[in-house]
């Protein structure tokens, strides 16, 4: 069994889109106060939720064809993207703990993907 390029594109695309969705959720979340309007009229939250939802649809579509040992590790792209977005948009530092943590998670997901083959 081989993995179609379209599945890879769906999973990689879903990863990037999901991390962008999380960035919108974060930018909307910091504006949430104890008022209804700060939640209901918060377009960043709405866009973030919609984008995040879209990424999960892309994951499900992508994962339905192809090898999980190939597709699983591609999800890690979203974690790497989240480090970059949080550095660019929220001035969060990229610390060694974050790099080691994401690195270990990446290796672990590769093992799970190979184990599910």
């Amino acid at each position: 069994m081989s993995t179609p390029v379209s599945s890879m594109a769906l999973v990689l695309g879903g990863s990037v889109i999901g991390s962008v969705g999380a960035a919108f959720l974060k930018s909307g979340a910091v504006l949430v106060e104890r008022t209804v309007s700060s939640i209901v009229l918060n377009w960043r939250l709405a866009l973030g939720a919609a984008t995040y939802l879209l990424s999960s649809v892309l994951f499900v579509k992508g994962m339905s064809h192809g090898e999980l040992s190939v597709l699983f590790p591609m999800v890690s792209l979203s974690y790497i993207c989240s480090l970059v977005w949080s550095r660019l948009f929220f001035d969060e530092a990229i610390t060694s703990a974050k790099l080691y943590g994401v690195g270990l998670i990446l290796v672990g997901i590769v093992c799970l993907g190979l184990g599910s083959a």
Binding site: S19, A22, A23, L25, K26, G28, A29, V30, V32, L45, A49, F72, V75, S76, S78, Y79, S82, L83, W85, S86, R87, F90, E92, I94, T95, S96, A97, K98, Y100, G101, V102, G103, L104, I105, L106, V107, G108, I109, V110, C111, L112, G113, L114, G115, S116
Partner: protein
């Protein structure tokens, strides 16, 4: 636990207790999502049997098939938890922590769906848990 009352400054105040709380909320949320995925999977099988898989049929299914309803309700709860966490914590820490969901799904698949356990899966689980621990600890200080 008391916080000093300081006049408003332009330096952002980092609340370490809230950051730690955000980490635990996200980690608990990943278990909810894994349970939600299993419920939705079993509910989707029941929905498929009804033959009503159009947009309206699916909407009615979500409201009338209990596992499907419970699954999507858990997703909604997770969304609220995620928004609360992101408000107080760092996205670069919280977002990769969602990978713990892979661990829950694997564990639940073995326990509930009786899928085979393998050394590679065990190693994957252990390494992801280590990564989550490194990230969660490093990010809450």
């Amino acid at each position: 636990m008391s916080t000093a009352t300081t006049p408003s400054t332009h330096v952002p105040v980092i609340n370490h207790a809230k950051r730690r709380q955000a980490v635990f909320i996200i980690l608990a949320g990943t278990l909810l999502v894994a349970i939600a995925q299993m419920l939705i999977k079993s509910g989707a099988d029941r929905l498929a049997k009804t033959g009503q898989t159009g947009l309206l049929g699916t909407a009615i299914g979500i409201l009338t098939i209990p596992p499907l309803f419970a699954g999507y309700a858990l997703y909604a709860i997770f969304a609220v938890m995620m928004i609360y966490s992101l408000k107080h914590g760092e996205m670069s820490v919280l977002f990769p922590l969602i990978s713990l969901g892979f661990v829950w799904v694997t564990v639940l698949s073995v326990l509930v769906l009786h899928e085979a356990m393998s050394p590679l899966k065990g190693a994957g689980i252990a390494i992801i848990v280590c990564g989550v621990a490194v990230l969660g600890r490093g990010g809450s200080h």
